[in-house]
Symmetry: D2
Subunit: 285 residues, 4 copies
Amino acid sequence: MPKTAILLIDCPDRKGLVVAIVDFLVRQYDVNILNSDQHQDAELGLFFMRVEFATDDPTCTLKHFHSAFGPLAAKLHMNWRIEFADAPRNVALFVSQYLHCLADLLQRHQAGEFRCNLSLIVSNHENARPLAEFYGIPFHHLPVTRETRPQVETAQLDLLAEHRIDLIVLARYMQILSPAFVDAYPQRIINVHHSFLPAFTGAKPYHAAFARGVKLIGSTSHYVTEVLDEGPIIEQDVARVTQNDQLPSLIQKGRDLERLVLSRAVQWHLEHRILSYANKTVIFA
Amino acid sequence: MPKTAILLIDCPDRKGLVVAIVDFLVRQYDVNILNSDQHQDAELGLFFMRVEFATDDPTCTLKHFHSAFGPLAAKLHMNWRIEFADAPRNVALFVSQYLHCLADLLQRHQAGEFRCNLSLIVSNHENARPLAEFYGIPFHHLPVTRETRPQVETAQLDLLAEHRIDLIVLARYMQILSPAFVDAYPQRIINVHHSFLPAFTGAKPYHAAFARGVKLIGSTSHYVTEVLDEGPIIEQDVARVTQNDQLPSLIQKGRDLERLVLSRAVQWHLEHRILSYANKTVIFA
Amino acid sequence: MPKTAILLIDCPDRKGLVVAIVDFLVRQYDVNILNSDQHQDAELGLFFMRVEFATDDPTCTLKHFHSAFGPLAAKLHMNWRIEFADAPRNVALFVSQYLHCLADLLQRHQAGEFRCNLSLIVSNHENARPLAEFYGIPFHHLPVTRETRPQVETAQLDLLAEHRIDLIVLARYMQILSPAFVDAYPQRIINVHHSFLPAFTGAKPYHAAFARGVKLIGSTSHYVTEVLDEGPIIEQDVARVTQNDQLPSLIQKGRDLERLVLSRAVQWHLEHRILSYANKTVIFA
Amino acid sequence: MPKTAILLIDCPDRKGLVVAIVDFLVRQYDVNILNSDQHQDAELGLFFMRVEFATDDPTCTLKHFHSAFGPLAAKLHMNWRIEFADAPRNVALFVSQYLHCLADLLQRHQAGEFRCNLSLIVSNHENARPLAEFYGIPFHHLPVTRETRPQVETAQLDLLAEHRIDLIVLARYMQILSPAFVDAYPQRIINVHHSFLPAFTGAKPYHAAFARGVKLIGSTSHYVTEVLDEGPIIEQDVARVTQNDQLPSLIQKGRDLERLVLSRAVQWHLEHRILSYANKTVIFA
């Protein structure tokens, strides 16, 4: 039974990169390349590559790959990572009072759209509990106030460590995370912001969009960084606002967008299709 | 031969508005209502209506309508205007060096999409001249420098007055208009901004969008007001950016959007489908 | 407390319709018109109108309206109906093995997007039962074989009658309904077909779309008529197929479309925004 | 000065294809791979690849490449072709009476969007002549009747041969081409059909779409094959039909789609981004 892995690389663009990488994989592990995709950022002079390969070679382990590929990677100034498809991925969902994104993610997981374990649901409210129980996901109610935030974050981080969480999905979690929390999970916290970023950052973006009179509303999924709503954008989508839309119907249309852009981001992350650089992303999809 | 007119109204919402308006039209001019459309802005408590009607009554003139409808309009605190469909509309196109919007508008006009005269083309460069001549539109080359702007604007305003221009379309005209110029044509100057406003105001929006890593680029047509890129939005559209897009292909995709949103705005304006209020628009379409 | 009602009309187009209708409502019931919208089908010479109004007049009942409005309606050859907003609407959901549409409808109902009672869920399989129980909707398992279809349909019709069902939603119910069943609920059965109709009627539309190499896949919600996949279309939407899409990802994208077009159809039906004529629909939205 | 070329391959999928191809290019011509992209059709078990490379090797000519790559290609059962980026491409535009696609293509060519010579315009009507003359493209008026079609096609084929035409674009050319004509330019005639194929094949698709009551209209660009409207689809796009659209506005919206899908197809063809197989296309874009 061959194992499948994904190699993700970004580095300064130069001649011979594709050949060097493909040659390494074939000579070292006699791989079968299932998929390979590359892009450039001509403005920044960068090269991006994603290779999905299968190999029967039992020596192809995380540790072996690091020592075998390391020297080449260093020579070519690569940022890179290798992900084995059969490695378990543990996901935590954070939610507050709006449940539409959570319900959507749970249903998609049940339908087999995500390759991961949903390990736990964390909320500062109680209303997601029945849904969590229905889908059989452990639910942790951790209320937050301005005063208790530090202790609550410590409790959250303990939970995440205990369950060896790889990815945190903020499914309309309405609390701000501290820089220390964010730093603990770089490129591993996905948020959905209910506007077409960079328009309408901050609170109440639907109200702001309605007041400005835009003709399309949007939604954005992105990695969380220390600066609110400024992290690398993963996916965006929009819906048309008509003359008949008032704030409530605009918000309802927005919920559909939130579900779509968040679920796509989660799927792409879990399939190792996202490469993040210069506060942007390349999506290999 | 009946004449056709469009009545556009906005006023505080209250009971009985539709009936009062319809009754007036029927009793006064025995109209046939061809189309009537109404909307509310529930946040602001406003009512909007567009009625398109036909009448055989020869007394239904601009002057007569004003004196007949004026008292009712005053009583109900209406902003309103009446537009007769057979009134000639004179349009001026302003352009700089990029000709794709201009070429598109000229071709659409020739194909009969716009009910108007294209009276003149004004440019601070010479390169639109052949296109203007091909379509038989008088071309005025008025170069602008920082120093000459006031005199040039005076010359432009003289031209516009001489041709009794009703609408000015900035088809990628890259000069800033002075407040005095803008004030002379309120809600009668349409611009296209090559971003999804309010994101990426100002210069080089495609570069800014590429640098921010957005997944959709947009374009916006709007009425020009004194504050740059802040006028009432008329139309917006977006296109998907993929991992293969570099700046040049992103700009090319953007040109398609610019053509679409600008041409829709011009058509809607000429068909009296746009009502502007509170720095927003209602589109009756 | 005023009552709100919606009047839907289609009739041959002629002068004076809007005035006649508005005048009747005001004179008879002193209504406040909350919304009125009208359209034409110029090809067929038809006029369509939807008026939403409020009245304090206690005589404005279904029965009274019929006798009061009937003569005018007859004179103008109208098809029409009146719907009171506070009238209870009972909805039955039919589903087979794919649960994504059902889960979506249940979540939207819980979030308040639909003005109706979800009275029961009918399925020829058992797998929707847990979801039904979670949302507290009575679940009826009625397996169907070619031989038992007539008896099962009788049992279904009994259930529907017993619960005074107003609308049947086929949320990926993979059984064909007999003409007699369809006739019992004209314009009151909504189906989702997983293609952009009229392309790819019949079974396995995603497979057919993939084989034909279309660049967009679609989904269609429609009223069910005796001829399979030929009923009046209510809503359609599409998603782009890329070079990376194989059949499974195409089907996954399709599921998102199915949810969207079906939920919009259900909402518009419940808000009395759909007028059906000549095997087409007018959507007042 | 290095030369740039594009290699396009389809063959049965098997292990080692990427490596074999990349290795050949590097060993034979010491290439720099600018871009490489591959896809599979899992249903049919096929592999597709597009490699864009640069080389300084003067021996890398069309003839040399054929003899050097031929044996490997034969061994792996490849269909393949090599295209040198600096090879001149001659394009003929065919048009009838609607000029919107023609005007759009001419303007895009002038703006530098297409890498080709526009060698000639052929029409069965005179109305495109001024546009042709404005853009300086030789215009050939060849009227067609049912009786004269064979002679006219002979004249057309002579013209195409004389100008060494590589690609024929039917920019709303409303005449049917004979099988012999089509056979002379396999995968080298691009047509735009004004519907979302496979819906509404044949004549008057907008009328058919309006009669069926679809909620989106579409447009399709495709390679022409002997069976009308059945060739491999290159690109499709759609626009929303609203309750306000009558046939004329629907046709106007359709014209925008026709321009977009036809211009994208022409650009992709000229950039060797289209691979055609099994009556479908892979777009490397």
